[in-house]
């Protein structure tokens, strides 16, 4: 990767060209390091409707990285439109006890869902919309975006 470093004697046009070059290099580097690998071991969508902290829905994972970034694909149960699936992006953050996922359901309502980790698997529970109503949701897959 070739990085431009500005110095005071450079012309403004040289500086702009250098910055643009850096942007292109960075874009290319990020594209190369990004992944889209399915890491769950589900053979079908798994329902998280009504899952509680005490009885959460466990999503088995084939691999997990503490510093990884993952995409969770949700689908509203009962929605006839196949486009109703939504993605939520989460960080590995295994060290934290729990975290909140924010996503949209059906393109109209926002829901929150809690998550934690159990024996290298992801656990999801308490999927509710902003009014506190339980959301009928399934998880269709987990994808690793970045190591």
């Amino acid at each position: 990767m070739s990085i431009y470093k500005a110095i005071m004697s450079h012309l403004f046009s040289t500086f702009v060209d250098g910055m643009n070059q850096n942007a292109e290099e960075l874009e290319s580097h990020l594209a190369e390091s990004a992944t889209w690998i399915r890491v769950d071991n589900l053979s079908a969508p798994i329902e998280i409707t009504g899952a509680t902290m005490e009885n959460g829905t466990i999503i088995p994972l084939s691999e997990y990285a503490q510093d990884g970034v993952y995409a969770i694909k949700f689908k509203t149960i009962g929605a006839s439109d196949s486009r109703s699936s939504q993605f939520a992006i989460i960080a590995g953050n295994r060290g934290s006890s729990a975290g909140t996922i924010l996503a949209a359901a059906n393109g109209s309502s926002i829901f929150t869902c809690y998550r934690t980790w159990f024996q290298d698997n992801l656990v999801l529970y308490n999927a509710q919309d902003t009014g506190g109503t339980t959301q009928p949701l399934s998880v269709m897959g987990i994808y690793k975006i970045k190591d």
Binding site: N41, S43, A44, I46
Partner: protein, 106 residues
Amino acid sequence: MKVAINKKYKYITLEEHCPEDEVFEDWVMQEKFETHSIINLTEDIEKDNLRFEQFDYDELKDTFTFNADKYNAYLKLLNKPQPLTEEEQRILDLELAMAAILGGGM
């Protein structure tokens, strides 16, 4: 209709979830999925309304069986009218109030 049961993670897999170029029984029984077993059901059961909880587990025989009563109870629950949400009730009240105003003015 064939349904695969995952006892460990508590979910079911239908034939429609199997990739087109795979044989359902072989694909779903792969070690990575940890599937318990496959059950045959009659075609009159609506697959979209099947849930893991509708299958009873017999510990002694280590087998699952479909519980039609639980399935029917779930269908009944789905068809039960839901109470209005706060927002729906508010709109209904507004509509009734508007109707009363219009009715009174005539």
